[in-house]
Symmetry: C2
Subunit: 213 residues, 2 copies
DNA sequence: ACAAATATTAAACACTTGTTTAAAACAGAT
DNA sequence: ATCTGTTTTAAACAAGTGTTTAATATTTGT
């Protein structure tokens, strides 16, 4: 996950790699605008000038990082739907993988949605990933299933929304929920694993209303 | 909505008011960290120094704005649950109001969740609103209903998540969905109104599995 | 070992940041 | 008109911003 390939391979980790990893951490935690080049350099244990030596500018570095995050963000969705499992299994596995991924990277949905909403340039570093999704045929297949009457009739956009809402929001809302309900980190994590089951059952139950319980 | 009371009432709108409204717009659009005092002043058509003359500091101004946004953000939830409608109606009306509110303020969920995740000080300006929620007895009542076996047994935290996920995420994800599915602003708005019905039916169907269709 | 290429550094650049200051414009009361 | 307190402004402040430069260290090929 987030495994940048080394270009000038040294024994351990090249400076370029260190900066990329530091940038990933800092950008995700603070956002593209609310962090400094010096902060990234410090996190990587290097000089500020090196950041621009390897990546030309802060915005170029950000575009690089953002694209790789988007890759991971959408990868599992594409992978699962490109498989040849029956549709119900696809959705179940998709949701379960999403919960697993977000359990390890809970800040990513907020990072992505926030950048897309507030930093229009972020969309540039996003176009390549866009093709990945389209070329996967994910949506075409869902449409086919609907034509066979196998699934509740609703627009693909809204099916996407249904799934992603119930996967991503619980992780995005963690700080809000913790303070509203006054729960600790640990108990919220337990709520999240329990919520996975609810998400699967509710979404499947709604998309396939004719299934027996 | 977001109606700041004037303190030194002039004929039109006092400078203090103008700054508050400008700050509201700028903070919500850019976030607390990614905007400048001068930007707020310019948006209000006033001098930079006036911002600090009335509000002491940028962070004090932000705390003020953030608290008022949180008020509106949670108000409808508290209002609906404080009423004496049957539980199903409460949830239905809550979701519908939420969609209506977010239709007019679609940037607010992203604003709130992002600040809570990245700006720890934001929580300070949040505590008063917290009491509002607790004192409303919202959660106590939900628990009572569950004890009567009226509702699917699941933790209040997860019921909250279920409802808020399906209301807020569709608005937060608008930029992502637009670029993934290549739809325009107008068609996405249509998707949102259609999604309201799905959210109501899905959530009610899952929380009350014994209801007839 | 030496020279060329690459990597790294400290320092500087011009610019923006939040905040303060001191002076000016304005209001209302006498 | 004069005084009084309030509101508004332009200018300045130190600190921090992204980026560049020119010098130094390190690696690489011979």
């Amino acid at each position: 996950m987030f495994n940048f390939a080394p270009r000038n391979a040294k024994m351990n980790q090249s400076a370029e790699e260190k900066i990329k990893h530091a940038a990933l951490r800092v950008f995700i935690q603070k956002g593209s605008a609310n962090c400094t080049s010096r902060e990234i350099a410090r996190e990587a244990g290097m000089n500020v000038a090196l950041v621009n030596y390897y990546f030309r500018s802060k915005s170029k570095l950000f575009a690089l990082i953002f694209e790789s995050v988007m890759q991971d963000f959408l990868k599992s969705m594409v992978q699962v739907f490109s498989s040849d499992l029956p549709i119900r299994e696809k959705i179940r596995i998709l949701i379960e993988r999403e919960f697993e991924f977000l359990g390890q990277h809970p800040e990513i949905p907020n990072f992505v949605l926030n950048e897309l909403a507030r930093n229009p340039e972020a969309i540039d570093g996003f176009i390549p990933v866009l093709n990945m999704v389209n070329e996967s045929g994910v949506f075409d297949e869902a449409r086919k299933l609907q034509e066979r009457g196998d699934m509740r009739q609703m627009d693909i956009v809204q099916i996407t929304l249904l799934i992603m809402s119930n996967c991503q929001y619980p992780f995005m809302a963690q700080p809000l929920m913790k303070v509203i309900h006054g729960v600790s980190n640990e108990t919220y994590k337990e709520h999240l694993t329990a919520h996975k089951t609810h998400a699967v059952n509710m979404v499947l139950g709604y998309l396939f209303p004719n299934d027996q319980l």
